[in-house]
């Protein structure tokens, strides 16, 4: 039985590695490391992580590996991650090169605020994803 449980620990370790290693994910074909190098790339990576984790959660629920209560909680975390990313406002458009300095100053303030909101959304989404992963991970601790 211990051996069986260790197999399940290994399997969820694989899920966690696949879904949470934001800086170390690799393509199995090209072997090129995918390291997000910008906020848009991180947002895109979060989006595919949500998609993959939602599928895993669905499979785990329909195969009765996790309870309905856990599935509802997991859905809420994943939805919250998705909403956090969706709520990032559009990037402000820079003024014309010959625009007055006041316009450029206003653009700089708007752009700083945009980047701050992006960073905040990334942080919130990563936290929510970790909470959803913990629901799947908890299975290994069950007797």
């Amino acid at each position: 039985m211990r051996k069986l449980i260790s197999y399940s620990s290994l399997s969820f370790a694989i899920i966690l590695i696949a879904l949470n290693a934001f800086l170390q994910a690799c393509s199995p074909v090209t072997n090129e490391p995918f390291v997000p190098r910008s906020n848009p790339e991180t947002l895109a990576y979060i989006a595919v992580s949500i998609k993959t984790m939602a599928r895993s959660m669905d499979a785990a629920y329909t195969q009765h590996v996790i309870s309905q209560q856990d599935a509802v909680k997991g859905l809420a975390y994943l939805q919250s991650a998705k909403n956090a990313v969706s709520q990032v406002p559009p990037e402000p458009v820079p003024p014309a090169p010959d625009a007055p300095k006041a316009d450029w100053d206003a653009y700089k303030v708007a752009h700083d605020s945009y980047v701050a909101q992006q960073n905040s959304a990334i942080s919130a989404a990563q936290t929510a994803l970790a909470l959803a992963a913990a629901i799947l991970d908890a299975q290994e601790k069950q007797p």
Binding site: Y7, S27, K51, T52, A71
Partner: protein, 72 residues
């Protein structure tokens, strides 16, 4: 936890790993295309990925609701 559940969990984990690998390949392709065009990933490309994620979330929600209706 019985043997069947362990196999199910292992199967789910392997599927997740394979799907993540495929998704990473798509992301790399998107990034390379954007780089060739001298830009970062566009909001539209990110939105398309978010729409796919939302479709999976809707699917999960539908399955949960089905389960709740079946249980009631």
């Amino acid at each position: 936890m019985n043997g069947v559940q362990v196999i199910q969990i292992l199967n789910i984990a392997l599927q997740a790993y394979a799907e993540m690998g495929g998704s990473i390949m798509s992301l790399i392709h998107l990034r390379e295309t954007a780089r060739r065009e001298g830009r970062d990933l566009s909001p539209e490309e990110i939105q398309a990925l978010l729409d796919e994620a939302q479709a999976e979330l809707d699917h999960l929600q539908a399955d949960i609701e089905k389960g709740q209706n079946g249980a009631s």
